[in-house]
Symmetry: C2
Amino acid sequence: MPSEPESHLSADFRAALLQLFPGDQCHVDLPTRHVYGYDNSRRLQLPDAVLIPREQGHLPDLVRLCRQYGVAIVPRGRGTNTTGATIPIQGGVVLSFERLNRIIEINPDDRLAVVEPGVLNGDLQSALKPHGLFWAPDPTSAPFATIGGNLACNAGGPRAVKYGACRDNVLGLGAIDGHGRALRLGTRTTKGATGYDLMRLLIGAEGTLGLITDATLKLLPLPKASALLRALYADVETAAEAVTRIMRGNVVPSALEFMDATAIRLARDIGGAAISESGAMLMIECDGEPESVPWQLARLQEAASGRGLLELVQADTASATDALWKARKALSPALRTLAPKKINEDVVVPVSCLPTLVRATEQWSASAGFPIVCFGHAGNGNLHVNLLIDPANARHAEAARSVLAELFKTVIALGGTLSGEHGIGLDKRDFVPSAFNAATLEMMYDLKQWLDPDGIMNPGKLLPPADARRRRAD
Amino acid sequence: MPSEPESHLSADFRAALLQLFPGDQCHVDLPTRHVYGYDNSRRLQLPDAVLIPREQGHLPDLVRLCRQYGVAIVPRGRGTNTTGATIPIQGGVVLSFERLNRIIEINPDDRLAVVEPGVLNGDLQSALKPHGLFWAPDPTSAPFATIGGNLACNAGGPRAVKYGACRDNVLGLGAIDGHGRALRLGTRTTKGATGYDLMRLLIGAEGTLGLITDATLKLLPLPKASALLRALYADVETAAEAVTRIMRGNVVPSALEFMDATAIRLARDIGGAAISESGAMLMIECDGEPESVPWQLARLQEAASGRGLLELVQADTASATDALWKARKALSPALRTLAPKKINEDVVVPVSCLPTLVRATEQWSASAGFPIVCFGHAGNGNLHVNLLIDPANARHAEAARSVLAELFKTVIALGGTLSGEHGIGLDKRDFVPSAFNAATLEMMYDLKQWLDPDGIMNPGKLLPPADARRRRAD
């Protein structure tokens, strides 16, 4: 809900902003501020102005101007994040990169592409395909999510299990920090041991340390063939055991997705996949040169077999494969049909701890009295844990808080972490202190202070506000 | 040459040091100080004391003590680095990790190992082998280089082309920064989007930001089969073209090594490999499951074929393969037999720029009047450029300076960087400012100041001293 329709920007600031970004690049009208005040977290908070630049040139000036006037800058791709990372909670300027969307270079010889942050992940993949190349990160939102947003959240996706997430697939970045300094980080080479690795600080920082202005992406050869197995298990525990067996083997699957019984029902009833009732399912994919697929499949079939296996079939046509993936990708929106509200976490644990985590969620669901649906990228130990609640039910809300606290505590105790690929944003920031020791947490606050001394870069995200922290310490 | 045999440490400091590290953990005698005053750069400078701790517990106290007294700490593995990174140029305390060499955990289910920094790379690989696992970085010095040293320099090696260097193969670190804070960075999971990536700051930092006290390493399944091709070319240019063709293809080789004509002669005459005279050679390796090797080989053979190819043979026995690799690994020491001094650089350029770089080195050699021998990890564009000079020859020394300046200028202009895997140390630090824009360089100095405010962590390495920088700016 918009807290305040009026803009808080001074006339001087607005004039300076318009001078830097004239014409249709700068908007202070209420409708536009509404459109850019929400994201996929379904929160809404009005910014005071919306910038949609056509050119990069004045971005350092923008940062310096905002420093001078103490105005927040909230960088934004297409707002597909689920954590509130792009909500302008302090108002200020939302900076949309949607028009800075040029693919500057595709270089097949050096296997790299240089892009502006507003390029859609899906558009880049389409442009790379004729060259026989791809960029590894493939979040479900790829067709309508930007590369800049992917980098800000260190996005992953199903194939991260074989090919890595964003941090593993970037060579270089152009960036502007909270001082307004135009940085050039990383290289155009696949190897480098010159100076400090500052580049990866910006990846996964959710825009809290600076703006990413261009990215040199590491590309991979597009596999010419792939195959998909569907394995049904009696229960979540035996499926989780199979994940551990698969990940111990010599064939790294290009996807290893897990669904519990409720997720299977949804995939069938809403996603349209022909899957029989069972306790849990794995989707196991391999890819590579055509010659490699048969023996990869054989190895994966062997590893998938064991206690609790009910059915193991290969999706033997392209349309059967597509149908399974479509059903998988429909899960997240489909969950919204089951309950008035879903709370979606994307915790990660070491793969061997998946059975423990899955068992725990079943217990929490039973005692809380609402369904908890689990699916996700099991090969990385990355589980999407969905609490399906009715926010009007006071007991649900209370129990959800306690389940979340238990969930994060359990994940940390198992050697895991709060987020695998969605990031922290607003939703999880208050749990971040539980994920690090005091010295490491202090170092994170120091880092923020160092690169953004005035606290103007996407304030209030990723870490609890420093004053709240001081209050706790008192 | 030792500049000064006497220790400069105050009696108070020495007493405090002995209290923290009693018995044979602390040495101030001249012979021990000599042994720990040099490294593989062949420089020597005496430390004032040598610490060889048996326990980790007092390392934060050590940092705080050194801060209090303004004494430098130079962390050290086995001193195999070639850049002077472990020379105690300001004296102080050399901290050897050789006794902190426990493999704390090998976890095949989660594909990770936790080690202390003093574990030798080769010892870890031996311990992993029975589990069917390996850790990717494989510098030539692996049998006698420590994991801590590998991490400090972001070491690579031949198989980095397929499996990455250190930064790509670490999950978590324990570290102590220059404030004496005990940090816990990264995770035990293969995916993570919680907070800032501070871990990779320490990797490749050459001990200038803090001490690495333990590392959680990402392990990979040991390939069950491999095959090696030897390809001879008429000249370096056609060999470099073949590298580009291979790296454009869908089969990523597990090694792609380049040798020029002089390196070939050395490999034959000193390394004992049976190779006929030619302009340049590639060693092309693939690995994986046994079923995958034949078609990988076929693809690589196809890509290796083209203009200038003289001979393409498979090393068809294990002993032929070993002989080739032995000859390759003998190159670096063998070069020392050709001239009184070698200046060994390990520049990197985008793979497509290798022909340009190789051509340039030939011209520089012709005009400088001394041999320049090139070999290295061509698949990453990482070339070891060896200037073979007689330091007694004043014209050589002068020409070498000018060749180095040209080399670095060319590499930067081609979009490459100063070091691929050896790091900066003392040898290249004065060239570092040429590799970054002013804002990025300033950020590196800021980073050093932030994590090591008293400048006690391996001072004088990786960046030119800040006062020299200020002088230049005046």
